[in-house]
Assembly symmetry: D2
Homo-oligomer: 303 residues x 4
């Protein structure tokens, strides 16, 4: 494990304007009459104005309830503990709901995992530097050292944790040591190592992955070559939360690009890389803005 | 004006399942703390459960407020007058808001205006018959008689009101006679006549229009030929509400298709027709479901 | 089997302008130096002008060769036999090539197979009537009688051949009797019966099928419900040639539409139906214009 | 003007594999019987195999003729002068045609012009470094010094030529001095200065520009704010060749992204930047591969 951190990049873009004096509240649980009223009444009591509210119920008769509310008021930071306490009491009051409340002026902290292929990694770093991705990139972890200089030129710590064969426990122990307490979520930006179920559980934060997608699916090695043999006309990518079932977790975002018979396997990969990086950046943005709610094996995305 | 109505078509699809015991409430006005709470409290008081709620404010500090709420309760029809009265009192209470409340079991009534070109007209009728477009098509009005049999085979009244040169007042008087009291909105499905400002005002219901769109715009006659000369790579369509400023009203929906140099003008028109009918059908669907709120010269669309 | 044919529809659109005095030549085989020169020299010898030529070789070093050439000359029909004989001799001359030559003024004859679901069937009939699909629809065959009147109102013969349980041989014998000698290709427009390998071989014409597609694939019954549980963000469709491997034949065209968590299974199906009909109509158009060349398990599509 | 060149970047990607022993021939002029035969006969005479051939005629009766041919043979470089001479004689022989012949192993040289906004500039440099864009970036010229370090970290010369008010002649003289003899085409990657007609003529190489596009168009300052007021649902970009008529030159490529009412002007700009960079990179790729033929005010693009 290498632990050098470069100096900040010399001509960094102006820091993204944090959304001052606004917070986002996610409420999720069993639908019942009166939830919206209860929440909005609490917010009103504290002089908070609702900036946007998205609510969705997957079955009007006792289904699951999802609500994303952005609200604001002057001097929010000082008022937030009282608002939260009030919400806690109100929502405990006979509702079966979970909620999270987050000050939007504090960006989420993310660790990006990468391997040799760096198109997704760099796309995230560039967007972040341009102010398009409201996260704090705490660190980049890779099983290859190749991207170290590039990452550090963004002023971001780079840690090289080589893969160590079939037994990943030593590498994962290093990962946990680096991550614990330091990040709010993890992005696998074409990270080519499989995470153990134990790691997923112990790290305790959401993990977003990106992988190629085809219609139909091509199982096994070299899916681009197989896709070309079948003559597919679309190449896609899927961003999803990582669960123990590899590549079977809740989907956050998908997209495709059009290809044709004249595209070589290399060109299909290039097109695939393009759609991967745009799909991943949208998934990370939406997660960063608390627009994605996991429920069972799918997601509610309030765009 | 021809006023024969055909018998209903023999093998009509099953009527669309009306959304029983649900209503949609649109609230629109000046943003202020407490609106969401006030509305949801009223609904809760009447035992109504919120099925979906979309709220948007275009400026957290005193901007405009938009809310679409779908709610339900058993025996809604009987309860609706009391809910409406309660809402009226609550929202009058210091808020500057307009609202509309509509029983979703009663589809909106629409008149479709068409000319010779029938791709948009027929697409709407087919979708309606398939149960994909929850409207009652009260009548089709055309300045050409060509589509009469086709329209009547759907069991829908067809009225032929020929265009009458520069002075449209006689034709528009016939239109008003047919429409007044009978429709909730009008769709111009490639209707090639210009409506007078007086007609728009007197008919008093929203009018949706579809027209081709290009980047850049091509002004004047035969835009497809001009688009081909410039070698455009995209052909688009825009559905919008009709205002006195021709083709300048609030946009509801837009889309494009990809074309290339080998497309003849006739093929560009065919592609344009395809995108026109899909854009128009989405705009009509969203209007029918009260998903579109007009505000100034634009729209809020809660999809 | 019902064998009544309706009178032609009363208000048929003007017949599609056949492409007079033009032919399309497809050449396909082993790449070798000199093929393009040989073909274009023959055409030049007969005073034929090349309108468009697309050529593709999947490997510059001895791969497969594909060429689509549209050419024209005055009084083509009379000249075509001599052109064909000349091509036959020239291409026999040391090349390993197959070719087909077709007079573009004679549209291909197609039979459409359908079941209860009629969105794809009707879309093809409407496009054909509008002059957008240059084929002769010789007949519609269905295992349900529901669409008979609708189909016949287009002036097209409708044959009801009920499905007959596990043993399809009697039904397929009827199919072959109807089809043999009468059609150049077959379209399965959401035909819900499986064709036997024997039928596919004996009918001897290309068969195009459409089916829904998802990323990832959802195997088994009710894929839309499974897609919703997984929270897919795209719904797709694939048009392909039918081979004995069900749904595994060479892909002609694919497309997707965007969906979200709020779409019910019924809405997903409606969106799927929309993308199915547009994908199928493109595949049929390209096949009708000889733009699709099968090669192994994929296709070359010269758009 | 600053003229320092940095050392090559330390961890440059492997150089793009040049397409060895292949050349591209573009032929463009008046259609006549026999052109394809004449060209392919010449190529065959020199043992050259045709890898791909796209031909298009905009009117079968004496319209304009366009052909792109990629061909290869062993030891192409040595054979090319004789092939060219043979083509010259053959095409002079009664045809009214222009042609260009280019060895594909020698990438085109490009100068990129930029201003402060660097998303398009950096996207081109990244793609080039990843081997996705087969050009030699000879230099970057900007009227701002901000991007100097970033550009030089790619090992590419950066020249700062400040804008000098209304009279651009001094700056343009510097541009000409830098460019003359050094580049095959120029890309304006969000370069915010207007080029004089004299410069366009004197520089003598094609210039590609990118600009935002809307349906409808929004003229004048701050189009994104106007687009938001009108509630557009699509934001687009157009890449085109620069002519003296500002933003009116032949279109190479266009694309759009979907937006909605909740997007702020800043978000619309971010979305616009994304579509700009992808459209520009496609246009540059296609120009680099000689896939684009200018004709009148439009382009033939052989994809």
């Amino acid at each position: 494990m290498t632990l050098t951190q470069n100096a900040p990049a010399p001509h960094q873009a102006p820091p993204m304007q944090p959304t001052a004096d606004q917070a986002v509240l996610i409420v999720h649980g069993r639908d019942r009459t009166g939830i919206v009223a209860a929440i909005s009444t609490v917010l009103g009591r504290h002089g908070a104005n609702i900036v946007s509210l998205d609510q969705y119920s997957d079955d009007p008769h006792g289904g699951a309830f999802f609500q994303r509310t952005v609200f604001g008021r002057p001097d929010l930071k000082a008022a937030l503990p009282a608002i939260e306490e009030d919400l806690r009491q109100e929502l405990a009051n006979g509702f079966e709901l979970e909620y999270t409340l987050r000050d939007l002026s504090v960006p989420k902290r993310v660790a990006i995992f990468a391997s040799k292929t760096d198109h997704c990694l760099l796309d995230l770093l560039w967007r972040n530097r341009r102010g398009e991705l409201p996260v704090n990139v705490s660190m980049v972890i890779s099983n290859h050292a190749d991207s170290a200089d590039e990452v550090r030129s963004f002023g971001i710590p780079f840690f090289h944790v080589p893969s160590q064969g079939a037994d990943k426990s030593a590498a994962e122990a290093q990962h946990l040591q680096l991550l614990t307490g330091n990040v709010d979520f993890i992005v696998l930006a074409r990270y080519m190592q499989i995470l153990s179920g134990e790691f997923i559980e112990r790290v305790g934060v959401p993990i977003i992955n990106i992988h190629h997608s085809f219609l139909p699916a091509f199982i096994g090695a070299d899916p681009y070559a197989k896709a070309r043999q079948r003559g597919v006309k679309l190449i896609g990518a899927t961003a999803h939360y990582v669960t123990e079932d590899l590549d079977e977790g809740p989907i956050i975002e998908q997209d495709v690009v059009r290809v044709n018979h004249a595209h070589t396997v290399a060109e299909l990969r290039r097109q695939g890389a393009d759609v991967e990086r745009s799909v991943l950046s949208r998934a990370v943005l939406w997660h960063a803005e608390d627009r994605v709610i996991r429920h069972g094996n799918h997601t509610i995305v309030f765009q």
